[in-house]
């Protein structure tokens, strides 16, 4: 990289005057995506009926009310939480590790959640613990959420404990990747010895889905993501300082250790909760920060954080619209669509703006 590009990074910390307009436009895009996501689906419902239903008025077909209120609305709200949460946690990880390939799964949290779910799904009946969990009557959706949260939480505790000892962020990144590798291997081993029906259940979970997060689930997810986002927004300044390197940050009077803990906690909450409720949803966390940086042409996290929220939500809503394959009765797994649609978009942006790395380092 040429020195000229290097110097571009600090320069872009200063936000231009037009950036808030961008944010407004993005907010409009999110709104549009939200409306489309509720209006479109396998079952064709007239827009008027959708609006009536949302206003609580009766429509010609009672099934429409069920579909809009119980299926589409919760799913669109989940998409908002998932999109913004993953995007923000990805942005934090990329800045913390100063690595464009980092994402919400970089700390091994997703893998930890997967291990938690595997304990319930694959070990149920064969290992005493799993059996006990089922016997307690916790079967069903909450069991999975609890298991995934426990898994992600354990990995998070481990990462936090290690981060106190490991000063170097690169080492921490490697630690996270190794944790993911180990938990992944344990899950594979479990699958190897499990009955096909159990593997099938687990496989379904690994596809990730915005569906089925309703009622109290949605409330909990929204609350946790909200807390995670608040923590993230609170660390906007430390993130800006970290962009310039830890030493520089320290020289600016930043308590690197505390900021780092805050960032890791926020990411863990976001990625852990989202994976717990929706399963692993790939790509959004890695791609959206790049898209946001390219769109806003800034490295200032005071803008990037809200920007990533909006881009993440808009992208997730758009992908969900496509995943529903309007007009057909089938829907596709969300993470497949996010990757299939998202990768070309990111490629396009990155290739157009070849100095994208400059906004990271």
């Amino acid at each position: 990289m040429r020195p000229a590009q290097l110097s571009a990074a600090p320069a872009s910390l200063a936000a231009g005057p037009r950036r808030p307009a961008w944010l407004l436009a993005l907010a409009g895009l999110v709104l549009l995506g939200f409306v489309l996501d509720i209006a479109l689906g396998p079952v064709r419902i007239p827009v008027l009926a959708v609006v009536k239903t949302l206003l609580g008025q009766p429509t010609d077909n009672p099934a429409w009310a069920f579909i809009v209120r119980e299926i589409r609305l919760p799913k669109a709200l989940t998409a908002l939480a998932v999109g913004s949460g993953l995007a923000v946690s990805g942005l934090q990880m990329q800045t913390l590790f100063r690595n464009p390939l980092a994402g919400p799964s970089a700390l091994g949290l997703t893998a930890g959640a997967g291990l938690g779910v595997a304990v319930v799904m694959l070990a149920g009946g064969s290992v005493a613990n799993g059996f006990a969990i089922r016997a307690l009557g916790l079967a069903g959706s909450w069991t999975l959420v609890l298991a995934a949260t426990t898994g992600a939480g354990l990995v998070m505790a481990l990462v936090l404990a290690l981060s106190a000892r490991v000063r170097d962020n690169v080492v921490l990144l490697i630690v996270g990747l190794m944790l993911a590798s180990v938990t992944g291997a344990i899950v594979s081993l479990w699958q190897y010895f499990s009955a096909p029906e159990q593997i099938q259940e687990y496989l379904l979970w690994t596809f990730g889905s915005l569906g089925g997060v309703v009622g109290s689930h949605l409330a909990v997810l929204a609350a946790v993501v909200g807390v995670g986002l608040v923590l993230a927004f609170a660390s906007a300044k430390p993130l800006n300082a970290l962009l310039l390197g830890e030493n520089y940050a320290r020289s600016m009077g930043l308590t690197v250790g505390r900021s780092r803990t805050l960032i890791i906690a926020s990411t863990s909450l976001l990625a852990g909760a989202i994976t717990a409720f929706c399963g692993p949803i790939g790509f959004v966390g890695i791609a959206v920060p790049h898209l946001t940086r390219a769109l806003l042409r800034t490295a200032d996290h005071r803008l990037l954080l809200p920007g990533a929220c909006l881009v993440g939500a808009a992208l997730t809503l758009a992908c969900d619209c496509v995943a529903q394959l309007p007009g057909s009765q089938t829907s596709l797994p969300l993470s497949v669509v996010t990757s299939l649609l998202g990768a070309p978009v990111v490629l396009w942006v990155v290739l157009r703006r070849q100095n994208i790395r400059s906004s990271l380092t």
């Binding site: 099934a63 069920f66 299926i71 909450w142 029906e197 496989l203 889905s209 915005l210 569906g211 089925g212």
Partner: protein
């Protein structure tokens, strides 16, 4: 709800765990086979009598003594040639029909000429290793459970005689797929190893065994599109055991009883609307028009929303939203899968409580005959006793047609 997920085996040569469809298929067929193998004796012992006695004189047993014909199944043929029999396993769903030929010759007799490509099996079988529980059902149907010396997984067997033999240590666990215990199987050298899988391609997985001189037969009963076609695979085992006369008589009874019940179902004045299976988050897998489950629903006298929708996979992966409108107003909900109580169902997703069958209590699961090991006889003996299964469905959907029938595989979800 595995059976509704059955694919047709069109997937390419991808390892199962990397294909969604395929892992479903694998799960489905293993489960069905794991569970469906042991149980023909039990129905006879304890099954309640059908409303009318089964007709004794076989109708079309104009068959030659010692021979049988294939009337319903599309997945195999049996022909009788000088000096032996030829059993061909077909792949009915592929354009280029893959066929594996087996030449069955009496033990010790000379091999007839002209079948160079065929795998030779000496009959009658003395020992058989069945990797799936469907195989338990196949041999047990013919009262030949004693030839079983190995099973894929000892957990998945329901037939009392097979369980006794397992307890006595007379049946070894041979493992499944990658975990297949080749060394043990080769040392044991059974007369035949019966596996479940995709016709043709499936055999390559068992090259080690075949190289060691242990014949392997791939059973693909799960691709059949009718219940009788699926059950007719007992004739393959009958040919292997030289029990053609017995199978003609016993399978003939099943056919007559099934057809009598189906006639009842078709004549039913009301055709209740049914939904099948349990969704997972966004996806609801339902049987497609060509699945044997759809045929069951037709013969039981129901209105099934996807009765005309075909899919190359054998099941339809529908969006929850596409099924919900039907479920909201359906009359019955069948096969709620892993959810065995109403509380389970709500715990999976509170929205399911809005479905009409949930409110009226017209919810039935096929798990009545699940044993202590967790093996469900529905997938075992149910595969060869479609007559009992259909009677259950008619009893559930049209109780007035079979007033004295006691549910055998199904039970109400409470």
């Amino acid at each position: 709800m595995p059976h509704s997920l059955l694919p047709t085996g069109r997937a390419g040569g991808v390892p199962p765990f990397f294909s969604f469809r395929r892992s479903f298929a694998l799960a489905a067929l293993l489960l069905s086979s794991l569970a469906s193998a042991g149980q023909v004796a039990a129905p006879r012992a304890t099954a309640p009598k059908a409303a009318t006695p089964r007709v004794a004189p076989p109708k079309a047993t104009a068959a030659v003594r010692g021979r049988t014909t294939v009337d319903f199944a599309k997945g195999f043929t049996i022909s009788y040639v000088p000096g032996g029999k030829v059993v061909t396993i077909l792949s009915p769903f592929e354009q280029k029909t893959t066929a594996t030929r087996y030449l069955l010759v009496p033990r010790g007799a000379a091999r007839p000429k002209g079948y160079a490509d065929a795998i030779v099996i000496e009959t009658p079988l003395r020992t058989l290793v069945g990797l799936s529980s469907m195989h338990v059902a196949l041999v047990d149907f013919l009262g030949a459970a004693d030839v079983l010396v190995g099973l894929g997984n000892l957990k998945y067997a329901s037939a009392p005689r097979v369980r006794q033999r397992i307890a006595a240590g007379k049946i070894i666990e041979a493992g499944q797929g990658k975990e297949l215990n080749n060394e043990q199987l080769i040392a044991q050298h059974p007369d035949l190893v019966m596996a479940t899988g995709w016709p043709g391609e499936g055999l390559t997985r068992y090259q080690t065994l075949q190289a060691a001189g242990v014949p392997v037969m791939i059973n693909s009963e799960w691709v059949e599109s009718t219940p009788l076609g699926r059950a007719e695979w007992v004739k393959v085992v009958a040919a292997l055991l030289d029990k053609e006369d017995l199978v003609n008589q016993k399978f003939g009874q099943v056919v007559r009883e099934y057809q009598r019940l189906a006639a009842l179902g078709h004549r039913a004045a009301k055709k209740p609307r049914v939904i099948v299976g349990l969704p997972f988050k966004d996806v609801w897998h339902v049987p497609d028009a060509d699945s044997y489950m759809a045929q069951f629903l037709r013969d039981a006298g129901t209105t099934y929303q996807w009765d005309k929708t075909k899919s190359p996979q054998g099941s339809l992966a529908l969006s929850f939203e596409a099924v919900a409108p039907v479920a909201l107003t359906a009359d019955y909900w069948l096969q709620t899968g892993t959810a065995t109580t109403k509380a389970d169902i709500v715990a999976q997703d509170a929205r399911y409580a809005a479905f009409a069958p949930f409110k009226t209590g017209r919810l039935y699961n096929n798990n009545r005959r699940t044993n202590a090991q967790g093996s469900n006889d529905y997938w075992e003996s149910g595969a060869v006793r479609p007559d009992l299964l259909l009677a259950d469905l008619i009893k559930i959907l049209h109780p007035e047609l079979l007033p004295t029938w006691q549910l055998y595989y199904y039970q109400q979800v409470k």
